[in-house]
Symmetry: C3
Subunit: 472 residues, 3 copies
Amino acid sequence: MSHRLDLHPDRLLPVEPTIRNIARDLYASVAALPIVSPHGHTDPRWFAQNAPFGDATELLLRPDHYVFRMLYSQGVPLESLGIGASRATYDPREAWRILARNWHLFRGTPSRMWLDWVFAEAFGMEVMLDEATSDLYYDTITQKLATKDFLPRALFDRYNIEVIATTESPLDDLAYHASIMADNASGAWAGRVVTAYRPDPVVDPEFEGFAQNLVRLGELTGEDTHSWQGYLAAHRNRRAFFARHGATSTDHGHPTARTANLSTVEAEALFAQVVRGTASAEQAELFRAQMLTEMARMSLADGLVMQIHPGSMRNHNQRVFENFGRDKGADIPTRTDYVHALKPLLDTLGNERDLSIILFTLDETSYARELAPLAGHYPCLKLGPAWWFHDSPEGMRRFRLSTTETAGFYNTVGFNDDTRAFLSIPARHDVARRIDCGFLATLVAEHRLKDWEAAELAHELTYGLVKKAYRL
Amino acid sequence: MSHRLDLHPDRLLPVEPTIRNIARDLYASVAALPIVSPHGHTDPRWFAQNAPFGDATELLLRPDHYVFRMLYSQGVPLESLGIGASRATYDPREAWRILARNWHLFRGTPSRMWLDWVFAEAFGMEVMLDEATSDLYYDTITQKLATKDFLPRALFDRYNIEVIATTESPLDDLAYHASIMADNASGAWAGRVVTAYRPDPVVDPEFEGFAQNLVRLGELTGEDTHSWQGYLAAHRNRRAFFARHGATSTDHGHPTARTANLSTVEAEALFAQVVRGTASAEQAELFRAQMLTEMARMSLADGLVMQIHPGSMRNHNQRVFENFGRDKGADIPTRTDYVHALKPLLDTLGNERDLSIILFTLDETSYARELAPLAGHYPCLKLGPAWWFHDSPEGMRRFRLSTTETAGFYNTVGFNDDTRAFLSIPARHDVARRIDCGFLATLVAEHRLKDWEAAELAHELTYGLVKKAYRL
Amino acid sequence: MSHRLDLHPDRLLPVEPTIRNIARDLYASVAALPIVSPHGHTDPRWFAQNAPFGDATELLLRPDHYVFRMLYSQGVPLESLGIGASRATYDPREAWRILARNWHLFRGTPSRMWLDWVFAEAFGMEVMLDEATSDLYYDTITQKLATKDFLPRALFDRYNIEVIATTESPLDDLAYHASIMADNASGAWAGRVVTAYRPDPVVDPEFEGFAQNLVRLGELTGEDTHSWQGYLAAHRNRRAFFARHGATSTDHGHPTARTANLSTVEAEALFAQVVRGTASAEQAELFRAQMLTEMARMSLADGLVMQIHPGSMRNHNQRVFENFGRDKGADIPTRTDYVHALKPLLDTLGNERDLSIILFTLDETSYARELAPLAGHYPCLKLGPAWWFHDSPEGMRRFRLSTTETAGFYNTVGFNDDTRAFLSIPARHDVARRIDCGFLATLVAEHRLKDWEAAELAHELTYGLVKKAYRL
């Protein structure tokens, strides 16, 4: 006997009846609002080419490191899931069975919630995933993916996405975005897909292929990217190119939040070391720090909103990195300081009202201690939503509980799904809407907020703030 | 249409009906107890001179960095609020309109709760503050402030304040306290206003004007404050002077909790550097550390309760500091260690039963990890309440949830309002009483505490512990 | 009039009626399951010799540093409780009266819950402990302890303990365990008492008596424990000896989680310094770090599960240590890093599926930031339960709330009581069962989990996972 799969209409809302009733009304008022996805990692090729997505495993399991990291932690070899394996050497149906057999591991995790939504809402499954239903799932999903209704653009429209941002390297030619914009212009498709400027490959001296990346940046821009001034000019050039392809933001994924404000002479000397490949680890860190300040200066000039995503130790598992490469579920958060780290940048630009910097963290201890006090004072700072490992019901609750009293709601920027798992994007936004409405409902029930204020805020947290903060 | 302003009698109490009923009873038993305010920053001049408070902006907006920091974070220039501006160059009515227009920014913050209480309870407002009611607010408040009922002493009496402590520098002549004490003695006024000894200006080598302060300390005491022994004697002298003006406590607002226990020879050598103005940043930090231990020794001798308030990085915003001075909403908490930092002091004095040191933190991660274990062991240590950015409903809940299981209730010391916003003092104590009663009610409802125990504790947390801990 | 002592059947379950009903059902399904106690500090002599426990103070107060630290923090001299005092110089009845008089200090603490259970369930007390009932308590408990029903083996059986692990030094001869095993074999007693290998005395160069311990380790094993290879062989030898006495695990109580992976040449040189007694503090730390990796290597070979318990600063109170010795309630948690600290070990062995390392922490900030992400990825890692100061209702809740979304339930290992307070072991396991059932019930009520899944999980968290994780 299989178990029934259903999504309860009250899921994630507070249980206490008074609060739940308030939360239901708030949620009802925002549940159907369009999705604004200002930061994520979907592939623009999907929307440009509109080709079918492939099989269930290829779409939902193999690329989702939230999912395969859990299986790996319990002894499942990555190869058996098709990670680091070609289609010839692994069986996607068998990989799917491994997921089905281990589905209990995800109890209590957001992956379970997101995927159950995808199964039930996107694919109409009515029984839970387990060993007995594994093939039914695999076949149903794979067959549906071959139909017109499951083409990327059809899903984009069905999902009521108003705009989605992807993330590209400065070296990207943005051809897919250009193609989508052409279709927008011709009326072939109305979906809005914008890029975001993520310069890590040409800003981080320790990034794989940094030296070649610098050369390529020079070719693309016609600037001498081996001189400090030419290098900065090349950034300005590519930022403008990105802006022409819809970008309203940049994104910076540094190991720490450190910033610097060197003199031009010091910066030139440091850059010379970086170009020669002789920069020490400390100099590489200082260079990244200096580049955050440079990027902030450029943002003040060109209006791109700056996102700082610090604090992940990438590729912590050396052998997994060597055998399977980047982004294989082994990025681990680290303690992150903001108060000292951001001071050089803030000393220079912190009081600029036209500069907008959105801060993220993987270190929740910084919410109440550092981030909310900083965002509750500096005109240029806003708080990004609960991120990555904290992009979950409890993570979002902790975010609101820890930041609201000092930073308020209006120094936050709505929700980011930050995902490449396109199918689950509505599920992720839906979780955020439910948690925020539950949080607001609790404030109303404790008489800390009026009902009409909560209704205004529910709309702001879902739709208003993200549009304003990201200038979308 | 304006919105109605009302303060719900159940505000901040837990929503679940069983818990709320218990909480209501507990709260009813302590709601009317007198206010004991053992640590704060009201101006003794108010109570000595009993002059009217001025206009709404002058009283409620301009001096309240909780309020104007939020406005500043959303782009409001400080000058427009009268910060760093003379009465001639800004318009208080217009400043109040800015607050009114932006009142939504405070949703979910404690400032909103405190000020709504002041508006409704102190000034009898019945509509909410917004753009349409701004002038009504400004005029009503400003007019009432000119009446007898709103003179400082009248408010003090109406607020049922049993005793309030202010905070003064060792260089203060305490003339206002002397004047109040004279009025106490003559029967002109019964209000009890005591001082507290805050020696930062003569203990922190990095304090503005430190060298002159040292000279002045010498003049006031007749001691040679440029010799180590004379300097210590001068402190003893001023502490006794403060005690004669009602002080039962000292207060130490250091960047870190670091303590030291140098030999006399080392301390003399360090002090010599400090006096010469040649102390490095590290030596300045070591000197402050040494002075915490010296102050603890003096506390053991003279019975003044010692408060340590570490962990704020003062004046984080360099330009705001340069243009507007200290205390302009740019103090940011930092990670704070206690376990290693306090060890030198505790190795010397930690087992003294007659010494009382009250620890505060801006780093909530230390509650369960460091502070509760330390206070649950050392006879000399007690835990101060949730402080500053954490002096809020959620902050107070986290404090109780994180400290009670290891430190119990009896190693805590009741509530501190720590404010210069005199009008809101009852609102602040009321929030603490409500949150504590809600916390106790939850323990009762979970059968972790008997109802009669919770009733005893509600009284202790409101009134008993603070009197005992501060020797008031 | 004394107050009634009763243990409410719903204690610690969530108060909201929908959740409480679900929690009741879950709890009812696991309340009577046998106790599996895989990590603790009971004395094997008790179970080997089965002698009576002595008086109330001797059993319940004097050895329980959770209890006497709280009394000490409020000014009670340790000597008056029999700490550091012989039976000749203190009066156990009088010591018990001190506890009774100060019983209110424990309101809101887990000690109160555990001891109330012991009083009510183990000893049948029907009134609460206070000054008036002190002698009644003392006499009742002391008399009952002299009866057959309160002999260690009788309690072990009555408590439905399936297996209990003690913790011994490699220098222990395990004679008591051998004696118990002989009784098991002869059918004289069926109770299963296993040891665990705790090598700190011969692994930590800063341990009291380390040099003599090394000599003794050599004598016991016939290995040259002053050579690196002989030293490692001696460990292998004793681990096998422990395994023959039932051990399935090792335990490592280091100041930090630091690991190292030195070359053999480096390790030999470091060990030579350690043996000569010339190792610096940094070298001692490096040696402990290296030994964690060596122990992990041995665990992979011999199958013993490895427990790492880092982050306690032992004997923080210097005078208490000098006058009363170790383990007197003055161990204080410190900030603990795992991400960098564990990397050398994980780089070597992190992907081994047959290695099992259970991580504990006293720094709750690492739950969501470091430990859950690590355990949610590395095949060799599991999360130990909330530990020591966090082994409490709120501590356990924070553990589940902070770890589940990233690590799931199946990367955790059930409950550890970690105690020498034998009488309260059922109370401690009961608290964990109640809190876990309450947590699961909330997930069900929020429609994040099906009721049948919660029932499966309740069994796993109580019984299944601990048996599997500890290979018991």
